[in-house]
Symmetry: C2
Subunit: 225 residues, 2 copies
DNA sequence: CCCTGTGAACTGCTTCACAGCT
DNA sequence: AGCTGTGAAGCAGTTCACAGGG
């Protein structure tokens, strides 16, 4: 896969040395990517902005504006080349790297995440599972053996783990985040219902927290038929 | 954005007949609520905008602006009354109703959600579990017996279920959503990695999808220390 | 003084509408 | 003729900075 960027004569290293995309655009790219994979599996070679927008749950003007930030990968009068667009978005999101993920906390949610096929199927590889509970250490989930959290530094280094997923109770989350950062992890995905603090240079995104009652109140990604 | 109006005679029961709050504000209220509960448990009676903002991971100006939309529940020179603010936010979010939730799909993720204490502990009560797989029907999880999806209409009516949580594979999600809507469910929380379409008048929010790779790229709720 | 509540400026996102390429 | 790519307009959310009550 040649990853040359049109107009980008410098930085040819692996890091996506891409221009700043609007935050809101980046947030939608994974959804476009998912829709594109569906389209590709269904045998579509091209798709119009209208079609892709519908599949991703946005309006077509927004979609075109978003994609225009990546460059011109569409053909006027025709639409977008599905395969080409997939490649571009994956490049922009850094998914061509197939980064190693460590999952901490193998309770109910941790099990669900470890077993979630879609997690590993695109761009990410769960490389290690950790728990603080000795009775859980040694359990085999989806081909991986649960390790004790104490062994995190060593394993993180060996596996080149750059991403940590926290699926522990809230009380343990900050401590786990600190250990992840200390082990060289720069991106943390937090499923615990609490705010984490991480040093500058690391990123930390809070996901759901099933308690997010907000979602029960107002429309957000609602679609009409 | 269909909002129940104060003078709307069609919805006379219990709908929070409150003025329109900015979407972004509503999205943050649950986080404030969680932080407030923590503060209350820690024995705090009052909290400053600065303190609450830090606990919720936002800046204090934003927090004050958000809370000002609810009315004046703070005291200048002092701060906010924790208990009063909790009550107000719960009211605005409609959490005083303790609405009944149906969870569809008791795979790994469904189990995690069914067992998640925080889910039920504030404002929501999981009233029924469903699955399409006959071999799963009858299983007892957290005191609830898994029902077959065919019995949804009957049970939904009996339990006055207003909220549906979809934790099925993506392929089944739209069909489940249709069945939920047909059974009178007006709010759907979708954990499957796909866009759902629901009729006008219903709301549907997509949650995580662990594949949301976006979160590994750019800052979002990152906090510095 | 302290800390809330808020007009006003600002920033960024969305939508519109159409020019321009195929 | 059809569909993308994009300036320009419009709108929502954030931040600033300070007025004003306790």
């Amino acid at each position: 896969m040649s990853q040359q960027r049109p107009g980008d004569s410098s930085g040819r290293h692996a890091v996506p040395a891409l221009p700043d995309l609007p935050e809101a655009t980046v947030a939608r790219l994974p959804e476009y990517l998912r829709a594109l994979h569906n389209l590709a599996e269904a045998g579509n070679d091209t798709v119009s902005s209208e079609g892709l927008a519908a599949a991703a749950g946005v309006n077509s003007a927004k979609l075109r504006k978003d994609l225009s930030h990546l460059g011109s990968y569409g053909t006027r009068g025709v639409g977008y080349d599905v395969a080409l667009l997939i490649e571009q978005i994956e490049y922009v999101l850094g998914l061509h790297q197939r980064r190693a993920v460590a999952l901490v906390g193998v309770g109910n949610l941790g099990h669900a995440l470890a077993g979630y096929a879609g997690f590993g199927s695109r761009g990410f590889r769960i490389a290690a599972l950790f728990d603080a509970d000795p009775s859980r250490v040694g359990e085999r989930i989806n081909g991986l053996v649960v390790q004790h959290i104490e062994d995190l530094p060593e394993i993180a280094a060996a596996e080149s783990i750059a991403i940590g997923v926290i699926a522990t109770p809230a009380a343990a989350a900050q401590s786990v985040a600190d250990q992840l950062v200390a082990a060289g992890v720069t991106s943390i995905l937090n499923f615990a219902p609490c705010v984490l603090s991480v040093p500058e240079g690391s990123t930390c995104a809070r996901l759901i927290s099933p308690s997010s009652c907000r979602y029960f109140r107002s429309t957000s990604t609602a679609r009409h038929r």
